[in-house]
Structure formats: C-alpha cells, structure tokens
C-alpha cells in the first residue's frame, strides 16, 4: 500500500528547477538504525535503513506522526544517542558526543530557568570566548559589553522589548521564551540548527510570525536547519526539502522509515506568497495521503491485530 502510494506520487515539479549547485554535505546518515530494548530481552526498532544526505544550507523539515522517531533522529545528529548500526557524520566527522557544531532548540525546557533573558543568550558566546578562569581579564569585560549590545539587537529583532531582557524565563509567555531560545542558539552561529517542534506550543499568529523570523534568519546566514514539526503546512511554508518519516513496523525488515524525501516546490516562491499558493493545499493533501496509507499499513488500526498480538511476528 505504501509502495502504491509512493508510485502514485505525483510530479511535484511544475516550476523549472534551478541549476544544481554542488554543495558540501553537512549531515550524512548511512544505513542508520536505532533499536531500543523493551524488556524480556526484546528490542523495538525505532529507525531503520535511514540513508540521508543533507547539504550545507538546506532547510530540511521532518514530518511524521507521533512516535515515528523524529526526535530520535535529531538526537542522533546531536550526538546524544548513538545509532545501533550505521554511521552519523556532521561536517565529515563522525558524531560521538554532543558539541557546539549543532545549535539546538528543544520543544520544552529550552531556557535555563535560573538566568535572565540576557544571561541565557550570553551564556554560549561567553563560553566560546573564554574558560571560566579567563573571565577576570579586562579584555573579556570589553567583549562582554560588545556582546551585550549585539545580543540586545538580536533580541530586539526577534520582537523582545528592552524591559524583557532582565526578566526570568518564567516571567515570559511561551512565544517569547521560544524566541529567546532561538536567539540563544543563533547567536552561536552554529553551522547546523536542530529544532524539535520548536513552534508547536504556540498560538497560530505567534507561530506565523516566528516562521517568518526563522525564514529570514535562514536567508541571511544560511545555516543548515533540521526542523521537526507535525504541521504539514508549516513544513511547506518553511522547508526547502521535506522528509516524511513513518512508524517502523517492527517486522525485522530493513525497510526504511523514510516514506518521502522531496524538494519542496513552494520554496522557490518568495516566502510571503507561499501561503496563498494553490500548490500548498494540493501538496499538503498528497503528503497526508502518503502518511495515512503508511499508518494504515501499520496494522494498529486493525482490531484483529489486537486480538492476536503474535500474528505479525512471522
């Protein structure tokens, strides 16, 4: 059924393709799989057969139903988890631990509660500049003053008022917290930015303002962004490339979780025109269909499967 849906995949290329520019591969996953132990010596496959190459400067949006392993994928690239098999590389070097090559905006708990907005945003650049022992030097203080100005400007552009800068995270609304978290990650100018459902807790208008902001940041400095979301429309508005993950069937097959990996045709339109594009709805529907076809293959929909849990373990 999935393959039928995939075969029926429509031509999504009504706009002439730009001349391909050879670009450096920023993130590469080769035949990656992840299994989690789940009692009785058993294990559950979360990701399998993932082959992914992401070029520098791409804005990749990862879509997929809940529990299909989107966060797991990000954790692999971050270096928080290591794959059960396969290899993960960032900038040509294998990922073994978490470091500052990737910026990270988690969905929740994204700010240090014990630091003010300014303290949160300055934390990274201060670390990058000097170890804890070098902080008594006048040169560091000068740097800190400059940094404070820059951070202030940055936060201002993200829509925070000067009086917010001395507030603690619990005094901010969810939307403002998320803006600070994005500024915190961006001020490090990471080559890769990983965002895990960073906008999902926000109301629609805040959300669309933040979408615009993240898009303009991306246009300006062109980091490689991996953006996880549940929202197909958001994916189509933001990404240059869409990846649709499906839930692994856990049938010991090496079938890949990636149901769909395509360039986003809407990304060639100017950002402001994407929301009005007639293409938007059409592609949205198709992505939904593919996801639905895959999830009904999953078998969990079928009551017979619940009656006989052994039936899928051939």
């Amino acid at each position: 059924m999935v393959s039928a849906a995939l075969a029926a995949r429509p031509q999504l290329d009504p706009i002439p393709a730009l001349a391909p520019v050879p670009r450096r591969t920023e993130i590469a996953l080769r035949n990656v799989s992840v299994l989690y132990p789940c009692g009785r010596g058993d294990s559950k496959t979360v990701l399998s057969g993932i082959d992914l190459e992401i070029a520098a400067g791409e804005f990749v949006v990862v879509l997929g139903e809940t529990g299909c392993g989107k966060s797991t994928l990000l954790r692999l690239i971050l270096g928080e988890d290591s794959p059960t098999a396969g290899s993960v590389q960032v900038d040509g070097k294998p990922v073994t631990r978490i470091d500052a090559r990737c910026g990270y905006v988690p969905q929740k708990y994204s700010l240090f509660p014990d630091r003010t907005v300014m303290g949160n945003v300055m934390y990274g650049p201060e670390n990058a500049r000097s170890g804890i022992l070098g902080r008594w030097r006048p040169s560091f203080w000068r740097y800190r003053r400059e940094l404070r100005d820059e951070a202030g400007q940055y936060l201002g552009r993200m829509g925070l008022r000067p009086q917010d800068l001395t507030k603690y995270p619990h005094q901010l609304s969810g939307g403002m917290q998320q803006r600070v978290a994005i500024a915190q990650a961006l001020l490090m100018r990471p080559p890769v930015l990983l965002m895990d459902e960073a906008f999902s807790a926000l109301d629609p208008s805040t959300r669309s303002r933040l979408q615009e902001q993240i898009h303009s940041v991306w246009l300006e400095s062109r980091p490689t962004i991996l953006f996880v979301t549940h929202n197909t429309q958001e994916a189509l508005l933001l990404g240059t490339r869409l990846i649709l993950l499906g839930r692994h069937l856990d049938d010991r097959s090496q079938r890949s979780n990636i149901l769909l990996d395509m360039e986003n045709p809407l990304s060639r339109l100017p950002f402001a025109r994407r929301a009005q594009s007639p293409e938007l709805h059409r592609i949205q529907e198709q992505v939904k269909q593919i996801a639905f076809a895959a999830s009904s293959m999953d078998g969990t929909e079928d009551p017979a499967e619940f009656a006989n849990p052994e039936s899928d373990s051939q």
Binding site: L78, Y109, D114, M188
Partner: protein, 290 residues
C-alpha cells in the same frame, strides 16, 4: 466581594479568610498553650509553693536571669562588680550556645562536600557508578550505633560529636542532591553542551545553579536531624553545650532552666531556618516551587 464570616466557613474548603483572621488564628495555639501552662502551674503551686516540676513565671524568670547573667556552676564565679557585657560573655547560656553552635556550624560546613559529592554522582556517570550503591547502603546504617567507633577514632572530644552529625545527615543530603540533580531536564544539559560548555560548566554552572534552591530546602529539612544528632552526642559525652545542660539539669529537676533552654533551642533552629528561607527567596527569585 467579601462576605461576612459564617461558622460553616470553618469547614469549607472554599473559605477565604481575611488577613486579619489568618494572622490572629496563627497565634491562637500559642496563646492557648501558654494559658494552659499557667493554669497548671498556678494549680500546682497552690498545693506546694516550692514545686519545681512546673515552675511558675517567677521561677522561670529567675532561671532565665541566672542563665544569661551567671556563669555555669562548674565555672569560676564572676566578681560581683562585673559589668553587663562581662556577665553576658561569661554566662552559662552564652557558653552553652557558643559551644553547641560551633559544633553545629562546623558540621554544616563539613556537609558542603557531601552536597558536592551528590552533584558529581548525578552528573558524572563514573562517579555515580562508584558511589551510589555504597551511599545507599551507608544511609541505612543507624548513625548512633557508630558512636562507639567514633569515640575510638576521634576521641570523646569535639570531633566525635561533629562527625556523628556529619555521618548522620550526609547520606540523606548526598542522595537528595543526587536526585535533584538527576531531575534537571535532559534538554538543559544537551542545550548547554551545544552552547560550548565543558563537563564542569554543566555540573557547576548549569545543574548546581538550578538545584541550589532545592539543596537549601533540603538543608532546611535536615536542620532537625542535625540538631538531634548534636543533642545525642552532647547528652552522651560533653562538658558543655545546650543538650549537656539540659541533661545535667534533668538530674535535679531544674525545669526552670530546662524549659527556657528548650524554647531557646527551638528559637535558634527557627531563626536558622527562617534565614535560609529568606536567603533562598532573595538569591533565587526565579525559583518556582512546584
């Protein structure tokens, strides 16, 4: 809109007492306790004016006066012309408070490494592997049963009492700090690493900073066990100290000293607790207790 007080409000979950009500009600039991005591004491003194078990206000006042102005029995008497400052400095209460207080605060200072150990156990997996099981077991040893061993190792002087307090309270603090540090959201740690932190930055500048209010609260909860171990040590082997005095006075029914001492100890502990609570609020305005 405030509505008038109605008796059924007393058992209503939804009652909204005014500030005046809550303030005055919070003193009610204190007043009742004092009234009850006074009644009891007056009744006993009617039967026997020399009663020492439930001392009268006069006896209590005399006890307080002698303990804050007179030196202890075992010390040399002051010359009668000594000034007020000299009297306070050499008084029994001051001497006992100073020596108990010194033990208490030395033990408290020695608990700082315990807190740091708990932090390291949570943050550094190898430290956790090395210490966790041992501390969990050590925690189950009844600290008082170690006293004879402590006497042998540290002598019956100061250090055995201080070590009893430290050993009695440290495991709780270690484990509590460890649990609190582990409960710091994983996102925070991952995020801090992506912001160029080293391991010690994570331990001290991310995790410790975040759990400091909880650590202070757990120290506050442990003030009582700390005092308990101090009293146990002082009652068993000491030549001065608040608990020593209470133990001595018990032998000849010196309730006029014991009661003020008991209240004084409670007041001191209450003050330390209030100070820590105040400091916590002041230093950590961001802390949102659940």
């Amino acid at each position: 809109m405030k509505s008038a007080f109605h008796p059924s409000d007393l058992v209503s979950v939804q009652a909204r007492p005014s500030r005046l009500w809550t303030q005055s009600m919070s003193w009610l039991l204190f007043i009742a306790g004092i009234a009850l005591y006074a009644q009891f004491s007056i009744a006993r003194h009617k039967e026997n004016p020399e009663d020492r078990v439930v001392p009268s206000v006069h006896q209590l006042a005399a006890g307080v006066k002698s303990s804050i102005l007179e030196p202890a029995e075992e010390d040399d008497p002051l010359d009668p012309g000594a000034g007020l400052y000299q009297r306070l400095r050499h008084s029994m209460l001051w001497k006992d408070t100073a020596s108990s207080g010194r033990r208490f605060f030395v033990a408290l200072a020695l608990l700082v490494p315990a807190i740091l150990l708990g932090l390291h156990m949570a943050v550094f997996p190898y430290a956790g592997a090395l210490f966790l099981r041992f501390v969990l077991f050590f925690d189950k040893i009844v600290a008082l049963s170690l006293l004879p061993i402590l006497f042998i190792i540290f002598g019956i002087e100061e250090w055995s009492k201080i070590m009893l307090m430290v050993i009695g309270v440290a495991p709780t603090l270690i484990l509590d700090t460890c649990n609190n540090a582990r409960a710091v959201h994983r996102e925070q740690i991952v995020k801090a690493f992506t912001l160029k932190s080293g391991s010690f930055d994570i331990a001290y500048r991310v995790v410790l900073r975040q759990i400091l209010p909880q650590i202070i609260n757990s120290v506050r909860l442990n003030l009582k066990p700390l005092a308990l171990f101090l009293f146990a040590g002082e009652m068993i082997a000491a030549t001065d100290g608040l608990a020593y005095r209470i133990a001595i006075m018990r032998r000849h029914m010196g309730m006029d000293i014991i009661l003020p001492y008991l209240l004084w100890v409670a007041l001191l502990l209450f003050a330390v607790d209030a100070f820590l609570r105040f400091a916590n609020r002041r230093l950590h305005p961001w802390y949102q207790p659940l």
